[in-house]
Each structure stands twice: as C-alpha cells, then as structure tokens.
C-alpha cells in the first residue's frame, strides 16, 4: 500500500490536512468541479499552455491542474529543504572538480570512465574558471516520498530544468479560486522566486562586467514547448527575453541588438541545450545559438546559467555517486538518500537483478524521459525476457531500482476525490548563497494506479503548500 499523505497513522486525517478537510466537508458538493472548470478557462485565457511541436496553427495543450493542494508541514519540508541544498552544493563542487583537478577521480570514488567517457562531459570546459565557481544556478531535484519520514531523491536536473512557472501560476490560481482557504491556513509564500532568481543571476556576473549586471533569458523561440515559462520568467524578473538572433559576440563580449544600437549582456539565463548554444563550438547546424559564445564565455566576458557541461553530473551513472560526493566534498552525511540502485556492471548486483526482474525498474544509464526502461511489475514475461537479453549484451549500460510505492495525495477525478501518486520538484537557486522557496512543483499521475507523473504521459500539477511552523 502506498503512503497516503492525508491519512494519519491512526486512520484519521493527518495534521496538515485537518483544516482543509473541515473546509471541504462544509463546501457545496459541486464546488471543486466548478472551480476546476474555471481554472481551465483562466489558464487557457492566460495562455499557460504547452505548445505541441510541429503544429503551426498554434494548437496548445493545457497541463491538467488539480485544485486540491498538496500540504506539507514545516517539519517535513525542513528535511527536503536541507537535503536539496546539501545535494546541490555537493554537485556544484563535483562539477568544479571534474573541470579542474579531478580529485574525486584520483581518489577512486567515481570511476573516471563514467565521467570522461560521458557524452555530456565537455572537454572545452576543462580549466575554465567561472564566476563564484557556480555551475548550476538553477537545479530541479526530483524528490519522492514513500512514508511519513521517507523521502528519496529520484533524479537531479542540472541542465535546464523546467516547471517553475507552473509552481508560481498554480499558487496564483489557488489564491484566486479559494481565497477563503488562504485565510484558514498560513501557507508559506513562493512568489518571491523570481526575485531570488534575479539576485542569484546578478551575483554571478562575469569579471568583465563593470556596472549593473545586465541579465537576459535566452529562449529557442515561441515555438518551443516551454516558451511560456521563458517569457514568464523574463517578465517576472523584468529582463529581456532574447533569441539567439538578437545576440552577437564582438571583442570577447556579448551584445544584444536594440532600437538604440548594441547593448552589453553580462549574464545569460539560457534555456537552450549545450549542443545548440554556439554553432562555432558545438552543432554547426544550430540556428538557435550565438556564434562565438563559448569563446566569450571562456574568457570571462559573459556568464551562462547553467554552465556548459553540467549534464555530466545528472546522469544516472553519476547519480549513484552523489551520496559519496556529499561525504567527499562537504564531509557530511546525506540528508536525503538516493533510491537504492544496483549497477549491472557488478557481477553480484547483476545476479540479484536478473533474478528479480519482474519486481524492479531497469533504466538505461544515459536515457531520460522514460525511454529504454523496463517496469518489471507491469511488463509481460516476453518483454522481460527481451530486456534480459539486452542487459546481458551490455550490462554496463543499465542500472536497476526497486519499484517505489510513491506517496498519494487526494486528487479531483471524474468520480470525486481519490488518492493519486505524486512527486515533488523543488527548485534550488545558487549564486552568492544556495536557497529555495518553500515547496516546489508537485506533479500528480492522474490515472488510477499510475506512477508516471510526466506531463507528456497524462500527468498534472498541484499547488504545494508548506505550512508555517505553528500549525503542526
């Protein structure tokens, strides 16, 4: 049985949900469905949508929004908060080390071939110094829960993690739909996220910056599926939203084309993958990037957030080593554990996994987005045998994890309110300090029994509430 976040051990309602439950019992039976419809209408009007690729007509989908909040106590949050900060600090230290002395490889803690042979490792970054040694200004740490005190990190997202606009818009929507609920609860605010983001970005201005740092958001353009978020963040921070064609490099500095001539750019919050950033250094067919950007970056003319080459640290083969990194760089015990992971390149672990395939999840080391994955419990015998052959052919390419019973939260479905599985993505900001707003994006699998929360596979989002201390 999955852990139900609304249930207390004695079968009653858990403490963070008590006031909500009382409110719900006194509400009209059609209130939630009505508010749900209203929310859809508002979201469509505001245009908070995901573009569907290749559709020129502007067909856009809404990401389903669930009107029931996920509520966490301050104490529960504290653990996630501390654990995420610790983890991101260690990961930043790791990336810096990899592109400098490589002490962790020398110490034999992380095998060199895992890192240097990785597609996301960028030799161009070797020996380059960047502002404050911060590589990951914005991280999305995917946290899952399996019990009252059991939180695990499922994945680190250190390239261009998205979803924070949904966190902010979901909160704005909840306040609009249910102002009375906010009078009944003391929910810790999240709307200062854009201020913290801007502060973090300004704090990593490059050495060449000699005045107020000029920050911009770099988007692939308005056909990109996350364009809404790019525009939203630029707007909230009050900075320019630029495309590659708006920028050019001259004399080791980056400039944008304006109605009053060129203007210097110091910090680029880029939402474009490494491969497309600079046609001169990476993919030459990229029309999204800026020619010469890497060389300006390497010379300290501009800061990129996140840095180039951070993908080396959010790969599944690196994930396994994060707890050791925390000990190695910070001298601390990990606050949030990893999901237990078996490495199939090791004989003893492989033997165990092959004997228990029907109970495990097997993933490709470099895969993402649910591709190349075996979910044992929901697979046929035939699928399992086909996968077994793939593993045996190249065991080093796979890892295995237990099938986690993700916690559930009450969710509005066709037939009323029912428990559905959720995860949580807090967004960790690093600049002068490392910080995050209370909560994050809760993703919910709307299909009964489903453990897949991805929006591409029918997942929705919920507002995440962290209550002030005195409420629990």
């Amino acid at each position: 049985m999955a852990f139900d976040e609304m249930k207390a051990p004695d079968g009653g309602v858990s403490s963070p949900y008590r006031a909500y439950e009382k409110w719900l019992l006194s509400a009209a039976p059609d209130l939630l469905p009505r508010k749900h419809e209203q929310a859809d209408e508002l979201f469509r009007r505001i245009g908070i949508t995901f573009n569907v690729y290749g559709d020129q007509d502007g067909t856009e989908r809404l990401i389903p929004f669930d009107p029931i909040p996920r509520i966490l106590t301050s104490k529960e949050w504290r653990r996630v908060h501390d654990g995420c900060i610790q983890r991101v600090k260690a990961l930043n230290a790791f990336i810096h080390d990899i592109y400098h002395g490589q002490e962790i490889l020398k110490a034999g803690i992380v095998p060199a071939e895992h890192v240097l042979g990785n597609d996301s490792y960028r030799p161009e970054m070797q020996g380059i110094d960047i502002a404050r040694d911060v590589y990951v200004q914005i991280a999305g740490v995917d946290v899952v829960r399996t019990g009252a005190d059991e939180f695990y990190v499922l994945e680190d997202n250190l390239r261009t993690p998205s979803g924070v606009s949904y966190m902010l818009e979901d909160r704005a929507m909840m306040m609009r739909l249910f102002p009375d609920l906010f009078a009944l609860h003391r929910v810790r605010p999240v709307d200062h996220y854009p201020d913290l983001l801007l502060k973090a970005l300004r704090s990593v201005a490059p050495p060449a910056c000699d005045g107020e740092p000029c920050v911009v958001v770099l988007t692939p353009g308005y056909y990109n599926s996350a364009y809404f978020e790019h525009a939203f963040l630029a707007e909230q921070m009050g900075v320019e939203l630029v495309e590659g064609r708006d920028l050019f490099v001259d004399d080791g500095l980056v400039w944008m084309r304006t109605t009053r001539g060129p203007k210097r750019v110091d910090v680029i919050y880029r939402r474009i993958d490494d491969d497309f950033l600079d046609p001169r250094a990476f993919r030459s067919d990229s029309t999204l990037g800026v020619a010469g950007l890497l060389s300006a970056y390497a010379k300290g003319g501009v800061t990129l957030a996140n840095a180039i080459g951070t993908g080396v640290a959010d790969d599944k083969s690196t994930y396994i080593h994060v707890p050791e990194m925390i000990k190695f760089y910070l001298g601390e015990e990990p606050i949030l554990p990893n999901v237990p992971t078996w490495r199939l390149e090791r004989e003893d672990e492989r033997k165990y996994v092959l004997e228990h395939l029907s109970a495990l999840v097997v993933k490709e080391v470099h895969g993402s987005g649910g591709y190349g994955m075996l979910v044992g419990p929901t697979s046929t015998k035939e699928q399992i045998e086909t996968f077994r052959a793939k593993i045996l052919a190249n065991p080093g390419n796979y890892i295995a994890q237990p099938t986690l019973a993700l916690s559930t939260c009450p969710t509005l479905v066709d037939k009323g309110i029912a428990p559905r599985h959720v995860d949580l993505r807090p967004f960790v900001l690093s600049g002068e300090t490392t910080t995050l707003v209370p909560g994050g994006l809760t993703r919910v699998a709307l299909k009964e029994g489903s453990l897949v929360v991805n929006s591409s596979q029918g997942g929705g989002t919920k507002d995440t509430w962290v209550l002030e201390d005195d409420e629990c």
Partner: protein, 307 residues
C-alpha cells in the same frame, strides 16, 4: 529595447488596426447593400481598400456579398483577411508577451481563440453587423488596455506607431474609392455618390461629427476636408501624421524616418486643401500611400533591423 521586440510590437498593433478597419469597411458595405444598393457598388470598395482584388477574382470571380465576406473575414489564404490579421497580431503578441501587460496579451489571445472557432455558419448566425461590432469592440479594448496599463516607454511608442501608420494608410485608401475628379470644390454630386460619401463617414464613425461640424450636406469636398485636414478628427490623415511624427521625435529626433514623417505632417498642417487636391483626390491619395510606404520602410531600416 530589442529591435526584434519593437518589430513585434509594431506589427502586432498594425494588424489589429487593420482588422478593425476591415470590419469597418465591411460593416458599411453591408449596411449600404441592405438599404438597396447595387451589390457591386457596395462590395467592390471593401475589396479595393483591403487590396487583393486580383487574388479574389481568381478565387471567386464575381463580386457578390457572400464571397467578399468569406474572403475578407475568414479566408486564411487572404493575408489581409480579419482572420489573417488577428493571427499575425496574436503571433507577434505571443513573441513579446513578457513585454506587454498581461491584460493586453489576454485580450489578444482570447480574441484569436474565439475567432478561430468561427466558421461561415456561425458568422451567418451572429450576423455580419454583430461580428463587425465585436471586432471593433475588441480593437477598442486592446487600445484601452494599451493606454491604461502600458508604461510610457519605447514599447508603448512602437505600439502606437503601428496603430497610426496603419490607420493613415487605411483612411487614405478609404478616401481613394470614387475619388477620381474630386477637388476641393466638388460640392454637388449625384444621389448615389452622396450615399457613398455618407458611408465613408460612417465607416470611420465620423458621420455624426460631420453633422456637428458642418451645416452643409455631405459632399466629397467636405468629407475630404474632414478626413485629410481636420486635427480634431482621430482618424484623419492630419491626426495620424501628427501622432506618427511626434512619436518618432520621441524615439529618435535625428533619424531619417523622423524627418520624413515631419515633412509629411507639415504638408498637411501648413497646406491648403485646394492645393493638395489640385490634381484630384485620386492623385493625392495614391501619392500619400506611396510616401507612407516609404516611411514604413525607413522606420524598418532605422529601428527594426539594426545590426
């Protein structure tokens, strides 16, 4: 401001203004035809003004109400249909949604989403008059939101620039219909011509104002005077060029386009109608449209495509 942003803002407002003006022309054509006008006389001007008469003829042949309406309102193949204008306006707004006020984006987006759901059947149900009123109302709302929520910075000025440049072009084209031989002395005309010039006034919501300002009957010279020279008339060429020139002075006093706009404004402000129309209203109109296009091109070169 980013040059690309200025470009998007400018085309966003130009296309909304154009959609509004097409709705105005169609509305008046419709009213004329309802009061017994000959179909060709009523609907041809709407085609002439919006351009694309040739493309229309290729597709539909004869000028009949139902074809002109479907061409000018809903046809995606017509770059000057209301459908195309609002699509382009929305695309441009989408690209600058971080720059414009949220309300402004929401109005433009919801207008487009609603328009997308309208087909010939629904249009007939709603009636052309009701539809045109809706388009005008949305355009008014866009302008209202622009005025009451936008910071008075460059973004605002580029939005206004697009509106007034487009409007001056549309007013000129409107004056161009049945303009042959019209001079500052053309006072007495046939009943059908009088009907036409009254319709011109109505399409720019100026019929009542005309009555209030002049005691005379509606005449070509009177209408031309009002729509070219009158500084109090918000859609007159005088007002449009005054606004365009003032905006460009603010954006960049030394730019070439600012000089051109100032000169165009001075011609109207310090000119006399009898001199401007010495060779006929038709010649004046075609020269004005040419000059206006040149001004648009220069604005592009000065601000929108900088490198």
């Amino acid at each position: 401001m980013l040059s690309r942003t200025a470009d998007h803002l400018y085309w966003m407002s130009r296309n909304i203004e154009r959609a509004e003006n097409i709705a105005r022309f169609l509305d008046v054509a419709n009213r004329l035809s309802l009061s017994g006008g000959n179909a060709r006389d009523c609907w041809q001007p709407a085609l002439t003004i919006t351009g694309g008469t040739e493309a229309y003829q290729e597709r539909h042949g004869q000028v009949v109400a139902v074809s002109v309406i479907s061409w000018a309102v809903l046809d995606p193949a017509n770059p000057s249909s209301i459908y195309s204008c609002l699509r382009i306006a929305r695309e441009n707004a989408h690209a600058v949604r971080s720059v414009i006020p949220t309300e402004l984006w929401e109005i433009i987006n919801s207008t487009w989403l609603e328009l997308k759901n309208i087909d010939g059947h629904r249009l007939r149900e709603q009636g052309l008059t009701g539809f045109c009123e809706w388009i005008k109302e949305r355009s008014h709302t866009v302008r209202g939101a622009t005025h009451s929520t936008m910071l008075r910075d460059e973004a605002f000025w580029f939005v206004r620039l697009g509106t007034f440049l487009e409007r001056s072009d549309n007013t000129a084209r409107l004056l161009g219909v049945r303009s042959e031989g019209v001079t500052a002395d053309t006072r007495v005309v046939s009943a059908s011509a009088q009907l036409h010039w009254a319709a011109v006034l109505k399409s720019v919501s100026a019929y009542k104002s005309y009555r209030a300002l002049t005691r005379d009957d509606v005449s070509p010279a009177g209408v031309a005077d009002m729509l070219i020279m009158n500084p109090a008339m918000p859609r007159s060429l005088h007002t449009c060029m005054d606004t365009v020139s003032t905006i460009l002075e603010r954006i960049s006093p030394t730019a070439e386009c600012t000089r051109m706009a100032g000169a165009a404004y001075a011609r109207l402000h310090y000119g006399k109608l009898s001199e401007l129309l010495a060779n006929g209203l038709d010649k004046f109109v075609s020269q004005f449209i040419l000059d206006n296009n040149a001004l648009g091109t220069e604005i592009h070169e000065d601000f929108l495509m900088s490198s």
